[in-house]
Each structure stands twice: as C-alpha cells, then as structure tokens.
Symmetry: D2
Subunit: 510 residues, 4 copies
Amino acid sequence: MLMSGEEYRESLRGYSPTVFLDGAQINSVADEPRLAPGVAAVGVTYDFAKLERHQPVMVAEEQSSSAKVNRFLHINRSSRDLLNKLEAVRLVCQRVGCAQRYLSQDALNAIHQATYRIEAEAGGDLHQRFGAYLHRVQAEDLTLGVAMTDAKGDRSKRPHEQTNTNAYVHIRERRADGFVISGTKAIVTGAPYMHELLVMPGRNMVEADSEFAVCCAVPIDAKGLTIITRPAGRPGDDAAVFSGRYGQSTGVCVFEDVFVPWQNVFMAGEWQHAQFLTRAYACHHRHSCIGARAGFGDLLIGASLMMAEANGLDAAGGTHLRERMVELIKIVEGFFACGVASSTYGVPDASGCAEPERIFANVGKLLLSTQIYDMQRIAHDLSGGLIVALPGPDEDHNPQTAARLEELWQGKDDIPPERRRAVARFLGDITASDTAGWFSLISLHGGGSPAATSLEIYRSYPLEDKVALVESLLDRGLLDSEQSETETGDQPGRCCADGCQAPEEDKATP
Amino acid sequence: MLMSGEEYRESLRGYSPTVFLDGAQINSVADEPRLAPGVAAVGVTYDFAKLERHQPVMVAEEQSSSAKVNRFLHINRSSRDLLNKLEAVRLVCQRVGCAQRYLSQDALNAIHQATYRIEAEAGGDLHQRFGAYLHRVQAEDLTLGVAMTDAKGDRSKRPHEQTNTNAYVHIRERRADGFVISGTKAIVTGAPYMHELLVMPGRNMVEADSEFAVCCAVPIDAKGLTIITRPAGRPGDDAAVFSGRYGQSTGVCVFEDVFVPWQNVFMAGEWQHAQFLTRAYACHHRHSCIGARAGFGDLLIGASLMMAEANGLDAAGGTHLRERMVELIKIVEGFFACGVASSTYGVPDASGCAEPERIFANVGKLLLSTQIYDMQRIAHDLSGGLIVALPGPDEDHNPQTAARLEELWQGKDDIPPERRRAVARFLGDITASDTAGWFSLISLHGGGSPAATSLEIYRSYPLEDKVALVESLLDRGLLDSEQSETETGDQPGRCCADGCQAPEEDKATP
Amino acid sequence: MLMSGEEYRESLRGYSPTVFLDGAQINSVADEPRLAPGVAAVGVTYDFAKLERHQPVMVAEEQSSSAKVNRFLHINRSSRDLLNKLEAVRLVCQRVGCAQRYLSQDALNAIHQATYRIEAEAGGDLHQRFGAYLHRVQAEDLTLGVAMTDAKGDRSKRPHEQTNTNAYVHIRERRADGFVISGTKAIVTGAPYMHELLVMPGRNMVEADSEFAVCCAVPIDAKGLTIITRPAGRPGDDAAVFSGRYGQSTGVCVFEDVFVPWQNVFMAGEWQHAQFLTRAYACHHRHSCIGARAGFGDLLIGASLMMAEANGLDAAGGTHLRERMVELIKIVEGFFACGVASSTYGVPDASGCAEPERIFANVGKLLLSTQIYDMQRIAHDLSGGLIVALPGPDEDHNPQTAARLEELWQGKDDIPPERRRAVARFLGDITASDTAGWFSLISLHGGGSPAATSLEIYRSYPLEDKVALVESLLDRGLLDSEQSETETGDQPGRCCADGCQAPEEDKATP
Amino acid sequence: MLMSGEEYRESLRGYSPTVFLDGAQINSVADEPRLAPGVAAVGVTYDFAKLERHQPVMVAEEQSSSAKVNRFLHINRSSRDLLNKLEAVRLVCQRVGCAQRYLSQDALNAIHQATYRIEAEAGGDLHQRFGAYLHRVQAEDLTLGVAMTDAKGDRSKRPHEQTNTNAYVHIRERRADGFVISGTKAIVTGAPYMHELLVMPGRNMVEADSEFAVCCAVPIDAKGLTIITRPAGRPGDDAAVFSGRYGQSTGVCVFEDVFVPWQNVFMAGEWQHAQFLTRAYACHHRHSCIGARAGFGDLLIGASLMMAEANGLDAAGGTHLRERMVELIKIVEGFFACGVASSTYGVPDASGCAEPERIFANVGKLLLSTQIYDMQRIAHDLSGGLIVALPGPDEDHNPQTAARLEELWQGKDDIPPERRRAVARFLGDITASDTAGWFSLISLHGGGSPAATSLEIYRSYPLEDKVALVESLLDRGLLDSEQSETETGDQPGRCCADGCQAPEEDKATP
C-alpha cells in the first residue's frame, strides 16, 4: 500500500512522540508549523511514487516478496536498481532540496547485508528476523529515521572507556522478550516526523565495547525516548520562498531505558560486525547523497541562469556567463557521474544486496562535499549582490515605497520586475541564508567528514595492484614479450579480477 | 574633536532621516534595535581612536591642517599612511566583522584626487571647495555613506538612454545657490546611520550623459531623500552571538528633487572625469576590503582552532588540523599581503594623495572575493557539522532537556561544555547563517564584481613590457652582449620606470 | 585475422610512405629507432587482443558481420560496448602511456553515424560503401590515423575565404573513378606508422565551403602524400626508462593532388553534415581520452606510492601521504567515472551506433584536461625533488662515482637503492621531461581545447529544463498539489524523456 | 671590485675542481659546453651590476665596510634592502630563468645571524671571523654555492643514528689549524661553477648529533671534494631556444676528509644553533624564491600573450584570453605580493640583519610552489597544442619541407611565421620540456617541501593571539565597554606588539 503525502502526514497522528522544540514540548507533529517544511519534503517521496510518470524510478519490486514498494524502502539487487535509486533521489531533491527519506533505504540495505553476514558466520535468525521487519515496513510504507551518530564524549576514547556511559547508546539489560537501551544519538535527520528510528552503531568496536554494538528499530513514540529538535527549514519567514515550504529538521534523540522487543533487534553485541554495518551504511548513504546534491544543483543551475538573464547577461553570447555555467554543470554532473559509475559497477553480494561500488561512491561524496562551496560561489557570481542587499517582502506592499522598489527590480526590459525579485529571493534563500549554511554543512559532513571519506577511499583502493603494475614494468626492463604478459597484474578500470570485463548485471539479476 | 562610540550614537539624534524598515517608517535610528548592530559596529571606529594603544593606526595627522583626525577621514599621503589605513581596517573588522566607516575614507581620497584633476585641467575651485568640506567633516568627526551604485535599469544602455531617467541619479535643475538631483542609488552601505551621503558616479560616461556626472554631499535627512533599509546583522536572534551585536545594513536611497548647495557639490557635469573618479574610488576601496576581510579571517582562524580543539583534535600533533589551519592562514595572509604590497608601492599623485598601487589592490580583492568560500569550507571542515545541527539557545534553560544537552556538548574533558557550545554558535553565526551569506556576497561583489576587478587588472597591467621582454630575448638570439642590455625593457617587480628601485616614500613625505 | 604486435610491425614493410624526420627522409618506418616507441605502443593493442585474459575487453563481435575484431576497429552497439571500449583503452594505456589506436575506432564510429545520416537524408550509397570499407579494415586488422586538424591559416576566416587554399584539405578535381585532394593536415597522431589515414573535416561549414567537406581513406603511401614527423617518445635516451620504450609521434601530412577512388570516399561536398561528423568524432574521442588518461593515472598512482615509500614515508600511517594519494585517486577515478557514466547513458542512434552520452564525455574530458597538471603536482609532492636533481644513467657504471651514488640512493633500509633509483627515473620520465610536457598538452588540447569542450557542454546541456523546473516552483508559489505535478518538467539525472528510467541497454542489443 | 660576466667566467679558470659529468671527468668548467648555460646565467648577475640603470637594485652598500657590493653578497639591514633584493632577483630571473647566485646572499645573511647569536650566547669569535670572510668574499665578488641538503639515508633516524655515517656531513677530526669533514651533500645548485661552497646544517639536532653541526666555507677545488653533476639546461639542443642558452646544474658533493682552516669555519659542534641557522636560511631563501619565480612568470606572461595573439586571439576583446591572462597575473603578482609584504615587515634583529617576515615569506613560497603547475596550464591553454606537435629546428632548412611548414606556421596575417614559430618553441622549451619539469620541481621542493613550509607557517603564526581575540569576544558577551578594550589582544595585521604601527624601517637604519 503506497500512501500519498497527505496520508503520510495524517499517519503521523498515530504516534505521540515526546518532542521539544525551541524550549517547549509540542503537541502534534502533523500540525506543527515549524516542522511542516520537513513533513512536506518527505511527503513528496510519497506523492511522486503515486504519479505514473515517476513510477519507473520511484517504485520498485521487492524481490523477496514481489511487492511493489517505494524506492526508498527497497533492497537493491542490481546495478540498475542502484541507478534507479540514484535517479529517484535526484528527482525528489530537485523538488524539495533534501527529501530525507532515502536514509531509510540506505539503512535497510546495510542491515540486510550485515544481518546476512552475522547469520552466515554465527548462525541465529537475525537476517530472517530482519526480513520480516522489512516486509512490514514496506507494507505499511513507513519512513524510518537513522539514529547513528552518538554523542561521542571524548573522541580519543572508545565507547567502553567513556566516563559518561550515555555518550554511546548501549544495552542496559537483556530480557527474555527484548533488550533495554540507553544513551544519546546526537544528530538524527528528520527525527520528529519519522515513524520509527533505526538505531545503528556508528564506529568500529572491540570486544569490550560489545554492549555498544546495537542495531534495532524503535517506534518514534517509544517509552523513554525524548527528541529535542530544531525547526525544519525557515518556516514563517516570508523571504524563505523555498525553505519556508520545504526543509529538514534534526533531532537529538535521548534514550532512557527504552525497551525493544527481540523481533525489532538486529544486532545485540556482535561487536565484530559493527564496523561492517557502519561502512556498508556509509557506502549506501554516500551514493544517495550524490543524487541528493545533484538535485539541489539542478535548482542552482536553473536559478543562476534565470538571474543572470534577468540582470541582462546574454545566455547565447556571453563568454563570462557561459564559462560560469559550464563550471557549475561540470561540478554537478562531475560528481553525479561518480554516482552513476558506482551504480554501474555495483554488484550483489552474498546476501543478494547490491552495494554501490565503494571507490566511486566515496569519490563522488568527497567531490560534492567540498564543491558545494564552489557551487554557491558560482551562483553568486552570476546573480550579483542584490540577492542579499535589497529590501525584503514586508516592503513589497508598502504604498510609500513599492513603486520605487519596483523600478529598481526592473532590469532587462522584457523580464517583469516581480520575476527578477522572485528569482533573487529564491537564490538568496538557497545560497545565502541559514538554509545555505545548512546545505553546506550537511554536504561536507553528512554521511561522514571529508577525512572519513578519504580514509575509506584509501582503505578500499587497490593500491597494491597499481604498484604491481609499475613493478612489472620496471622489473622486466619494461614489457619484453607477450608471454610474460600472462603473469602481470593489469588493472583495466575499476574492475580487475577475472578478466576485466564490464560488469554483467543481468546474470546477477535474472 | 574625536567622538566616542556613544557620542556618535547620540549624534545621530541630531538628524531626522526618512527611513523605512520591514514595511514601516522608523522614528529614531539611534534607538532602533534592528539597526543597533550597525551603529555598534561603526561606534567601534570611534572608540578605538580614543584608545591610546590604537592611536598609532587609528588616528592620523591631516597634512593640510595638521589636525589629528580619525584614520577613516584622512587623506593618505604616503606608503606608510596606506599601510596604517590597511592595519586600521583589519583592526576594527577583527572586532566587529565589518566596520563600514572606511568607505568614508575611500570616497574622500578619490574625490580629493578627482577634484584636483578637474581643477588642474579646467580651472574652477572644486578642489578648494572639497578641501573646505573635508576639514569640516574631519572637525565634526562624521561618518559618510557612499551612494554610488545606481539602480541601472537596462544594463545594456547608457544613463541618458534609459527609459526611466531615475535609473541613475542626475541633475534636474541648476540654480544660483546649488543644484537639484533625482534618481535611485540601489545599495548604500549603512545608509540609515550615516551623517551624510557622498553621491558619486558609478561608471564611465559620454558627453550625452553629462547630467549624470554628479558628485556631492547630502545630509542624511535632506528633504526629498528616502531610505528603504534592512536590519543590520541579525538583531534579536539569540543564536546570533556575534551578528546580534554587530552588523551591517544597506539601504536603497531614493532622491526626489533633493537640493544641494554649491559648497557641497564636487562634480556637476564633468563627464570626462566620471570614470577617473569611479576607478580611483574602486582602488581605494578594494584596498580597504582586503583589510576588512583579513580581520574577518582572524575571527575564523581563532574560532576554527578553538572548535577543533574542543572536538578533541590535537593542535600540536594532528596533521589534518595543521594542514587545514595552514590553508586558512595561507588564504588570509595571502590576500592581506597584496594589501601590504599595494601600500608599499603606493605613491602620491599630483594632488598629493597616495593611491594604493592598482594591480596589487585588485589582485588582493580578486583573491578574497573568491576565497571567502574556501574560508567557510575550511572552517566547516574543522568545526564539524554540529554547529548547525544542535538545538538553539531556547533550549539552554529548559529543565527537561538542559542536562542531557550539556552532556552532549561535553567533548574533550578539560573544555567546559558551555565553551564548546559558545564557539559552535559563534562559528555557526559567522559561517553558516544569513550573516555568512552576506559576508560571501559582499566579498564577491562589494567594491566591484570579479569580472570588473579582472578587467581593471587587465587594463592596468604592463603587458606591453612583458611582451617587450620576450621579444628582446627572441630578437637577439637571446642576450648577446651587455651593451645591448641598455636598450631593453627589463621589468623588475611592479615598479619599472626610472631604474627599478624600491619606492622611496620618505622623499614624498618629508 | 588478429595480428600480433610483431606482425603489425612487419606489416608496415608493405608500405613505402614519404616520411621526413629531423630534416631527412627515412627509409623504413618498421626499422627506424626514433619511431620504434610509437610502433611498440600500437603493437600492444595487437598483442593484448591475442591474450586470452584480455579478450573480453580487447576483442568484440562486429554485429554486421559476426566477425571477431579488435576492439579498436569495432562499431559500438550498446552501453556495454562503450564500457568495454573505455576499459580497453585504460588497459592498454596503463601499459604504454598512450596506445593511439583507439583513434581508429573513434573515427570509424563517427563516420558510421555520419554516412548513415547522409544516406538517410539525401540517398546515395555512402553508408553502404563505408560498411564495405569497415569490413575490409577489420579483416586486415589495420591501424588508421585520423587526419582532421587542418593548418587553418587565419582562424578568423572560413575555409573558402583563406588566401592560401591549402590551409584546409579540399577537393581539387572530381573524376569518374574518384576525386583528387590537396591541402595540409597539421597534427596527425602516429602518422608514419599507420596503415591508412582517415581524412575528416574539422569544423562546421557553409555552402561556399563545400569543396572542403571531405572524408575519405588514404593509404599511408599514397602518391602525393608527404609526412613530416617527430620522434616518438624519447628513443635513445637512457634516462627515458619508459618513454624510450613507448611513445607517440605526430606528423604534418601534406596532400598534393592525392587521388582517392570512390570506394574510399565517405563525404565529398556534403557540407551540411561536416559539423555533425566533427562533433560525433569529438564525442567518441573524448570518451576514449578519459580511458587513456586513467591508464596514465594508474602509472602515476603506483609510482608515486612506491617513491614515497622508498623515501621513508609510511603508507599505513602518514596523513600527508594518505591525503595526497587520495587527491590523486580522486582526480583519476573522478574523471574516469564520467567515462563510465557516459557509457552507461550511451544509447544507439538510428544507425545502430551507440554514441557515448555527450555531457558526461565532455565533462570527463574537461576534468582531465586541466587536472593533468594537478596529477603532476601531487606526484612531485610525493616523490621529492631528487627525481630531477640526481646524476643520470651514464654515471651508474662510473667506477669513480658509482659507490658514493649508490649510498645516496639508499633511503629506507629495506628498499634496494637500484629500486629507488629506477622509480625515481620512471617518475622523472613521465612527469618532468619532454614526455611530461607532451602528456600535459595532449590532455589539454587533444580532442579539442577546454574552450571547445566547454562550448559543447553548454550547447548540449538541457538548460531549458532546469529553468522550467525553477519556474514551476516559483509560478505555483511552490508545489501546491500533486495534480499539478503532471504538468511540470522534472529532471531526474541526465535522462529525462519518457519516464526517467535508467537506460535499458539490453533492449537495444538483443 | 665588481666583475663582469666574462670576468666571472675567466675567474673559474683559477680553480681546478674534480667534476664528473655524464660518466666522465671534465677538464675546464669555464669551457665545458654542457655547463655553459649555468655559467651564462650566473654571469648576468655580474653584468647587470655593472649596468648603470640596474645599479640601484643590483648594487648595495655594505654597512660594515661602506663598500659597494653586488646585491647577492650583501647583508640586508632594512625593509628597503629586502625589497631591493627581491626586485634584483626578479630582474635577473626575468632574463635567465634562474640566476642561482641569490643563494649566496641567502646563506651569508643566515650565517651572519647565527654566528652573532652563538657569539652572544657562548662567547668566542665566530661572528667576527665570519665578518672577515664576508668582506673578502665581497671584495673578490665571488659566487658561493650552498651545500645544505644531506644524503639523509634513513629519514626516520637522526644523523648520529645512521648506519652510514656519510649520510650527513660531519667532523672527522679537529686539529690545531682547522677541522676535517666527510659526508655527502646531495643537491647543490650550480656546484661546478661556484667559487666556493658554504657547507651548512640542514636540520635540527640533538646533543648526540654535535659532530654533524657543521658550517664552513670550502673552495670548490678543495682536496677531497668530488662533484658529480648534470648538464645545465639543455645545451646543444636546437629546440631549446632559451634553456640552450641559460640553465642550472646541480651537483652531488662528496666530501672525503676535506680540511678546512678555522678562519673558514662558522659552526663546529654548536648543535643547539643548527636549527636556528637552517630556519633562518630557509626564510631568506624562500623570500628569494618568490622573486625568482616572479621573473619566470614574467616570461610566461609575455610569451603566452604573444602566442595567443599569433594564433589569432584578440588581446583587446577576447574574454577567454583576458580571463586566462588575469589568472596568470593573479598568480604571479599574488605570490610576489607576499615577497613584498615580507620585505615591508622585515625588521633587523640583534645582529643588525633584517630577516624577511617569516609568515609572508613562507606563504609566498607555498603559493608559488603549487601554482607553478597552474601557470603552465594557463600558458598551455593560451598557446594551443602545436608547441609540442610541430616538427623541430632540423626541419627548418630542409628544402623538401620548409615551404609547406612555413605555410603552416602562418597564422594571423600580420605576424610572420618565423615569429610564431619562435614563440612556440620558446614556450615549448620553458613549459613543456625537461626544463619545465625542472622548474616545477625546484619550485615545489627547492627551499623546502610544501610540508616543511606549512609546518614553518604553523609554528610561526600567532595562533594564540587569534584565539585570545575570539575568547575576549565570547567571554565578555562581546564587547561591553571601551574600558575593557585595554585588556584584550587585538591583532591588526601581522605586526601586533607595541601599538600596531606599520614598521618604521628608517629608525632602524640610520
């Protein structure tokens, strides 16, 4: 059953989470204006799945049940699935800036992989249990938050070494019917308007950390769970032509003796697999981030061009305009290409889940995370300074000033002043406001800092193959004969084992 | 007479400008909370001039009268003056982000040069008249706004070709006692809390534009002048730990038949000199911008390091921290060096005014205008994402959440959570808010867009000397003998005429 | 029949081209030491096609004949073909720096498309004629040079306006059995050791240029064809450990009344299609360049790491080493990803030829063309300065100095001095010699300058869709209802028509 | 006595150093064609000092003797001296690429400082001894090589821990009349054509390293000294239009029991001062590097513009050309500005020597070291690919090809083909040859790697002042009253102690 955006919003009334916002508790998430932009943004992921023209990317068939499910609740089985997911993320973020719900998908895929791995190595029924959970979530068309980033406390210490145990979420008690957890997750995207949270470990662990190796699902209104949140976007600000409508909230999630029944528990002490789960999630999520920021880039490309034209720059002839536009396109399509390549080379693992190819996913994330600042710069270069310098909406209808301001907004003759003003405010909103700062920082640090992403690239890259390549050239006084070729380690592209072919996705997904 | 900041604020009560803000007229600029951060920022330029330790840079002796005047009302006479001005700008902006008042100085110097030039070429008494004005302004320790950027209308047309004549400020009538002007200036920094405005031409002109070649001084409450403005900084926002206290406003200034007596008129139709005045102002101003953004950079450097340390990165040993810090320093001191070099090579012209060397001033401005985005990126890399993700000040004293949030802010053991929270909000305020967007855009476009700045560099650079250098190498089959040396055009450094010495400022300023 | 590298070299004896090199005519291309590195590099494309492990990428089945052909003579029919071609180029360039022969493939594919288009629009048998030629070339396993870049003369004038008609190759005479051409092609890769040249138009044309709209195949020893060439790589230089073995030559090709029989003519005056052919070729070729430079990047990655380790930097722990390595990987895999994306979104046109998606191919080329300089910089940062500062090979066996030099080359204890010396010379050869300059310039300008590539991106990008997206947001006061969704132009990813799915290559290639 | 370039060359006959080049010993440095470009480059520093027009920068008055000396043998006493030195370096490098002799000056200044410091702290007569040496060197107008970079061996070990003692130059024996040293210095600029070498320590040391703390002067033909060198530039290559005439050699200098009399010894075990000397030298030298690369930049600027114009790009109107040229200028003048600022803020220390301000000197060096690659890129963007693709000089006079090649070189009608060819070869020589690789690497690593330079910046920067600034803002709830101002640590510009004035150089140099 696929819900509409409105049905999603209504469904939130079925929960009564404990949510604090700006110093006071709120009554109804569904009716709270300061959260409305977040609810609206997630809502688009529901609406688009019901639009026929978007269904090829927004709806997928779950292989394990043949059910039609929202793309953001689907387990990827092939290169094509990954590409469709990437496109789906770009599509919704093109409309709302950041649609948030793809995090559900990122986490479900990673837990799918990790539970399979644990079951394969250690037995038990974690993967089977997860399968049942997945089918319920898909059937109910839920949105799941990802509670991964712990409070961390002193970063030079491991979880079990912290003075304050709550610095990491951990198991307080194991019971016959489930376990009890406590601790603080610091940054949970969209927390108040999620149906459930997926609690996940955020780092590698050692044996002494085993009570911190926790993965489970928790309803948003579970007893003992408190959410301290922030407004989504910039609701109520007339100048926020975009972010007053669509936005994103984050919440601090405080767990105080929250009980979780075993059917919702997917990791309970398997510390050896914590890092696998964290890294797998990071890979799925960085791949999604690429699509998300490409959608945001589409907004910048369109609005920058409109603004430059309204200012009187000539799209056809102006070298300056053209060079800047191509710089912007180069950045956006350059990192999006990494998402595509990561999809193309993504192959299913033993669990049947296709993880995006890791190098490309991380390179794409690294590129976008630093280049978001360049994107702003180019948009500003094209827009000119008036996007932050002219009077705001309150002045639009002041009879004492409106006529002279309208004159001011009149640039090129054939573009109405309201249009120029609207585009200016749109660009100001998404590139030069609190919202812009938000986009910069989630691009840079969301899904892992540049340092973490770099480390993942370094760890995953087949450096030894490249060294072998150069060594083979040096050792043999360079290529001597074709016979000796058979002994050397050539590295065509990213795929190098077993004959260096392009990946054959179809064999993998009959 | 040097005023204090408080005296400056009080002095604003002596004026009754027509100011609209957020859709309504305001009564008292001195008492308006939404303008208070702007008044406070300008106030620091007064206070610092009264502090003995800052007087070497903040106070100067006006050569033409031997009066001690505020640095920001002084005519530069030497390389050392330019360097002191640069330092003074950095000093005040280090404290308030952007102190605005240096624009007074930029304009006074340019008008000094231009009126001298007009008088020298065409006779008249404009320069003498300006001298009298200058002495009054210095004696009263005023702050002057710069009304230069016209509304412009259709940018492909000259002033006299516009359908809407008000797109550029122009002379409506010449009378025996003065002239009458009309038109709109689009972006005037700090407009409401200035004492007077210096109206200046913003572009080159042809003879048909002569009625648009206007330079004069107008009291802020002149009859017929309406200011439509915006709040300065982010007053009233508890999260705005810095920009709630210091900020900058801009105003649209609408002139409707404003009368100006001749003693305040410094250009009235001398269209041949309009471009000279615009370019001279741009040069002084870009030089000032360098100091201003270096002061802002000092705030970023200090806060980024504090934040990184509070997060647990090790200032002494961490390569990542060190490399990022050095990148930030490299940017800030790299463009500041251009300001220093521009000062060092600045020499007095015939009017006795020392203009900053033009290439270095423009290169410095170009560097800062694009690198401000990199500065934000590096600050964010060091700060981590929590500067935008954690709950705001309203939550600080909520008894239901405060204890758990305090735990969250506790990072490295020896740094109190309030300190980490304060630095995080400080950085969030200046790098990830509306204020940050403001800083980006005024860095990029303030004092001229990157395209305009590039053009100035291209126009001013001694390209023909560099071509002559290569030609001399090619023509002679490369250097043949020392005799022939005497005929070639070597280009040591930026100074190349008359023997290539370092500039001897002292001869110029006995 | 697939030849080996040695058979290819022998096959060159079957031709007697007129070739000048360093001021004198040469007798036998196959035996000329100064051309040997070029012959060796092309030879690897033959040898690798005979190695079983490389055949999946190096050999393809020509759809129109079911013949097994070398990848570099194959017409791409699908996304997978494009990906295999990309991998094949990376594979061979990883071994030889630049294998050159992929240009044959680029040109064959473009001529396939263009002749189909001409035949479809204007009738005639050009496409059929080309098909016969293609099959012959595939059967004989030839290597074809691309003669596209004309001498150009005064670049502000069109071909027919030039004072010197030979500035562009043109038809001098049409006969019953063929046509006669004259003119100069300025830069032809590998000219002397090609079997035949494909003469192609290099720009858009107007009707008056119709005699310059020429595409045909010419044997390398055709009467009237003179080649003035340069050494391939740095043969005979002991320090050229890599480029003494593998390299690339270019030739000026002067056509003086060269007769071409009709069966080898593929365009003879169809000026309307000249630009189509040029742009299609550019697209195929830029896609190939991506693979080529990625292969070169693999050499840099491997050698830089080896050098850094030999110097004593620690691959496991050193942040500096790791950050630099990741920068290098980010560049190489970042632009390679564009090649992959271009392949993934490449779809067959009406002729059945799959052209690489144009935006991604051009973005990838633009990225590599400027970043090749950063690649050198990073390699040098890691290598240290001694790769250019220490004595050369002649000193290796000087009994008076060898012992002390060996001491000098001894860095980290467990790495033999000869190894460090060998890697240092290898890196010096490919990053700091004439060869390095060559790689920089062909990366920047080969296949079109950055300006030309930028223009292609600007022309091909769906800018109007991005504007429509923003307009739809602004017009409706932002998204109002799901109904209205059906009317707006969403832009998921690069593919946007007809439902926004990932490309279904398999339908196209049954 | 100031020598001419020719007299300098002749003076080399007075020495008989043991020099190996390309595997064999050479007889006369003054007559060796492979070293001639190095001798010619140094020669220009002599010739220019005799040209009246260059004397203001090329000749200085030594304060301690009132003698007129070559700028490159002078002890800087003031900001103006530093600026003149910077200009002098730019002047000579503009003519010859790299004039090398400024290293003499860098070392003399550093030894002046270090010996003063040792004498002040520990007594003795080292500084006095150095003064006598200095006067002799100035009187004889010598050129001194800097032998600093040791062989180093295993870089993770200190000098005294090396298995091979010769990895660092060290004292073997102390005698009544002098000491005896052994060991290998790996990279000595211009070694064979120097008059003497200044042996200097290259790193910090501990007490156990005291026998490695060595600084002394050694005649180039001292007994026991062997130099293994490389050709200077590219002598004998007709295509090397510039580097065939001017170039730079480096030599490995092997010391085997070389005796040095005490009057030439300036450090003999004072390990506590080794790092001071190394860092002081680095500072002087990085300041010089800035001038050197700016001179090289002047050649690139001139040649790129000439090439672009010869290709037909329009210097007046073309945006592409203008933007690229401004990028190039921005780089060159941007780092040169750091040299100027470093001079402006350079103040004499207790020894009376004015060291360049350290932050600016290092920032400038860091900027040039990475941007040299961008300079090449821009030059190549403007030049087009033919600078590496067209036939070489041997073809110029081949009657069978010359006419057609001349046609090819004819671009814009009013520029003769020989001119375009000459500029193309000039640019090819300095940006795309072995010489270009050389310039890249000495820019990157000469005077210390980017990592070393970054570390110096981090160590020298007043980070604590910036933290204090932000703390003062946070602690007082931001600026509360002017009184409290007196307690805070404002940071105007780079100079901050004692009232924040621009440096008053004249007081320091009466």
